[in-house]
């Protein structure tokens, strides 16, 4: 039973180094020792079958891999730049839309605030005496000689036209 297990372990170690305990067992057991010798012969036989690339194959493979990597890198760069050219306008559109949507309420709020402030600051009720004084001052100054004021505003051509077509005294 022990040898069966050991031989199973020996199979797993074909082509490998033996542990000290296994070597110890082989030195004491003819059956296992002969089994191991057989595995060494098999191992030596199989080693001749080990795979080796020829020089031309190695060169060709290396070159193909270099070319393949270069090609994939170019494709990757193109794909990235293609994505960028597609994404930039989309991103800009999204930003614009979100920007406007986000700005609208702000703007409305600002406008409302300005209006409220303006109404509040502009609105005040003057005293009655003050109004009277202002009216009297304005009337006395601006309309003391209304005809002069009016005629003074007219150009020579307009005055000539009025003289020709209307009786200015009646109008005044």
């Amino acid at each position: 039973m022990k040898c069966a297990l050991i031989q199973q372990e020996l199979i797993e170690l074909t082509g490998q180094e033996l542990s000290h305990s296994l070597s110890q067992h082989l030195s004491e057991c003819c059956e296992c020792s002969s089994f191991w010798t057989e595995l060494i012969t098999l191992s030596d036989l199989l080693v001749t079958e080990n795979f080796e690339l020829s020089e031309s194959e190695s060169e060709r493979l290396l070159q193909n891999i270099e070319d393949g990597i270069a090609l994939r890198t170019i494709k990757l760069v193109n794909r990235r730049s293609f994505k960028l050219t597609q994404l930039i306008p989309i991103a800009a559109s999204i930003l614009l839309l979100f920007g406007i949507n986000r700005m609208k309420p702000d703007q409305n709020r600002q406008i409302t605030q300005i209006a409220e402030t303006t109404i509040e600051s502009d609105y005040y009720e003057p005293e009655e005496t003050m109004v009277s004084e202002l009216l009297s001052e304005y009337t006395s100054y601006r309309f003391a000689e209304p005809s002069e004021t009016l005629l003074g505003d007219l150009t020579d051509d307009e005055l000539a036209y009025l003289n020709d077509n209307f009786d200015v005294g009646d109008i005044l």
């Binding site: 199973q8 797993e12 012969t41 098999l42 199989l46 001749t48 079958e49 493979l61 891999i65 994939r72």
Partner: protein, 190 residues
């Protein structure tokens, strides 16, 4: 020696991850023979094996950022190679249909030797081994290639193939048992 090689590959991988293509070329030079050996053992055709190895190494470059170093780089690479080769097999070609790879024979026959008789014997033996190996089930071939030729641990092979440790060990043992029988049938005794 193997550890030294692994350390060197690990350093080169770090450089390659930063976009250093020359470092990756160095890695390719170090590992390509082993990758082709595996793809060849799975497919049984040299040209297909070269194509699959090429595909594996280009894919490795593309996915280098995904390699987190949880296994060795070689194990990670072998996993890609195994998956590619198995996909290839499942798509169309079976090893049994292809038989002995003529390129292998051609390559050996053109090489010069001081002992042509011995060389011919070697060629015949090699053909015979390859022919027999191609008849092994795929998972046994993979386990055998990775364990015997590439010196992977069973744990690593389990990681590469995605199979349980026990299954991997069984596959390897079965391949050895069959090869022992083949060796006796061919009259190769110790």
């Amino acid at each position: 020696m193997a550890q030294e090689s692994n350390d060197r590959i690990a350093r080169l991988v770090e450089q390659a991850k930063r976009g250093d293509r020359e470092a990756f070329s160095e890695i390719v030079k170090l590992v390509m023979n082993r990758v082709v050996a595996l793809t060849y053992r799975i497919t049984g055709n040299r040209e297909t094996a070269l194509d699959l190895a090429q595909d594996t190494l280009i894919t490795a470059w593309e996915r280098l950022e995904q390699f987190r170093g949880e296994s060795s780089f070689l194990s990670w690479l072998m996993r890609i190679a195994t998956n590619r080769s198995l996909n290839h097999l499942s798509r169309a070609v079976t090893v049994r249909e292809q038989g002995v790879d003529p390129v292998t024979v051609e390559q050996i026959s053109v090489s010069t030797s001081s002992n042509p008789e011995k060389e011919l014997e070697g060629v015949e033996l090699q053909q015979s081994v390859q022919s027999f190996m191609s008849k092994l089930p795929t998972q046994q071939r993979i386990a055998f290639e990775l364990r015997f030729y590439q010196q992977f641990s069973f744990d690593e092979i389990a990681g590469v193939t995605g199979k349980a440790l026990g299954t991997v060990k069984t596959n390897y043992r079965e391949s050895i048992k069959k090869l022992r029988v083949w060796m006796k049938d061919k009259g190769h005794h110790s």
